[in-house]
């Protein structure tokens, strides 16, 4: 079985977010980039399923410029077999989805996995766009994925519960916890990752459909109003009369 796992390169969760002076772009200076945490579930689960099947391949795919390669190598170190980088700045979800769909179409992948969303843009869009571009089912967001032959059984989160969904390959799923325990690379993985193939291809398809015209930070909090523990009940009055939320 051939797995395609899409990973994005995002600022580390603990990063303090700042923008360029014109507020048009995220300020990358001094920021550590990591594999999008949601994508780690997709990657690890694909590797686990491949191992359980005793064969097959896991290919990682990233749409990004050359500076994303350290994280692509990290995905190889975790256990992917090979990688493809589409050499382009990921302009918007539609742009990225087209790149993924085009690679998937030519590569004959059975299962396309990705994280639920990226922690920078929080789009939660790419999965459905890829599914629609390829004309195959999408299951999003998935909390569990098992395979038996060409049939996958997934648990899909819904508000207030979950659904058990069965689909046949090929399909797309966006992953979230508790699908698996994401793996971290070991020494052997890091050594072998250097020799695994990383193919770079140029983008195809139309441009983006959306554009960020400006970023902004939320207004700073006014500071916390502390209520002494002895008179905790006062808080409830403040929530009613001052904050007007109860």
């Amino acid at each position: 079985m051939k797995f395609l796992v899409c990973i994005s390169n995002v600022p580390d969760t603990t990063t303090k977010i700042t923008f360029t002076p014109d507020n048009k772009e995220f300020n990358k200076a001094g920021v550590q980039f990591v594999i999008n945490p949601w994508d780690e579930y997709a990657l690890t689960r694909a590797i686990e399923l491949k191992e359980a099947q005793g064969g097959g391949t896991v290919t990682v795919l990233n749409v990004g410029e050359a500076d994303t390669e350290p994280n692509i190598r990290k995905a190889l170190a975790i256990g992917a077999d090979d990688a493809i980088r589409v050499n382009a700045f990921p302009k918007d979800a539609f742009f990225v989805a087209q790149q993924i769909a085009n690679i998937a179409k030519d590569g004959g992948y059975d299962v396309i996995l990705m994280g639920k969303e990226s922690i920078d843009y929080n789009g939660f869009q790419v999965h459905g766009m890829v599914g629609e571009l390829l004309g195959i089912p999408t299951v999003a967001p998935a909390m569990k994925l098992d395979m038996s032959g060409n049939t996958a059984t997934l648990e899909r989160e819904i508000e207030g519960g979950k659904e058990i969904v069965e689909v046949n390959t090929p399909f797309v799923a966006s992953c979230q916890q508790p699908m698996c325990e994401p793996r971290i690379p070991n020494m052997r993985g890091i050594m072998t990752a250097r020799t695994k193939p990383l193919k770079v291809v140029e983008p195809t398809g139309e441009g983006a459909r959306t554009e960020v015209s400006a970023y902004a930070l939320p207004p700073a909090k006014q500071g916390v109003k502390l209520i002494p523990a002895e008179s905790a009940g006062e808080l409830i009055k403040l929530l009613r009369n001052e904050a007007k939320v109860i």
């Binding site: 939660f124 659904e163 508790p178 983006a208 523990a229």
Partner: protein, 325 residues
Amino acid sequence: MSVLVVVECDGGEVKKSSLEVASYGSQVAQLLGTSATAVAVGEATEANLAKLGEQGITKVLYDAEPRLKDFVNGAYTKLIAAAAQQEDAKVIVLANSNIGAAVGSRLSVRLQASLATNVVELPKADGGSFTVKRGAFSGKAFADVTLAGERKIIAVKKNSIEALHEAGKTAEVVSFSAQLSDADFADAPKQVVLQDQAGGILLPEADKVVSGGRGMKGPENWKLIEDLAQALGAATACSKPVSDVDWRPHHEHVGQTGITVSPNLYIACGISGAIQHLAGVNSSKVIVVINKDPEAPFFKAADYGIVGDVFDVLPKLTQAVKELG
């Protein structure tokens, strides 16, 4: 030309987030000088759909096909696309829910529309450009996004738009069929498992949330959280380590790797306020923190705080709520 609103229904009722979406859609319609039609999915009653008039909807399309009761991506996408074609919808508004995101992303490709999710404000449309404000960087920032093209899809974040309410206005409910075939139900759920929700309030929909962390010491103490939640009419939630050790079910875990919530009131009890936790709650309107450590990082993100022991403070809060009557 019109605005189409996707309304999710559950157990016959229109979901709260869909009332917000309907209000959003009718205000967009006003902005564009047109009317707002809704298409309903899930289990609905005609009477409840007609009440969408109170949110400014003039007409509701409803396909009573029983297999549409539960979410089916293929069928929902086809149904909404057919409604959009019939109504010549230039703007489609849906909730930034799991259903909204799953369908919205497929629809955007099918209808060649531009898509913005996580939207928190009404659009600005001037001189041909159409811009919406959306949350980004896990609640740490906002982005103004310009949507290109003739058709646009907007997924509205929960609790970010006040639902309109013009008592007594009704919408016309019209039966609608998208001529769905068996193939459209290929991804229908085999089984739907509903979880126990404290007081029947769904966490993703809740406008008040009481949440507990490792400071609660063990699952046997959750009664204190539940009592306060029940008194307030709030949903309950927890931090990740709490669900990792099974004190609480996974679906209550909020944060970067859990559910993102944006209630009007978030009360954090015995939670340190790690950045990964904040990522899921920091767009709550009012944050209250109860922690015995005055240095807990959560106090920096809080509006109100009590430095104290949760076992002492929580019963007092519950008592005070009950006294409000």
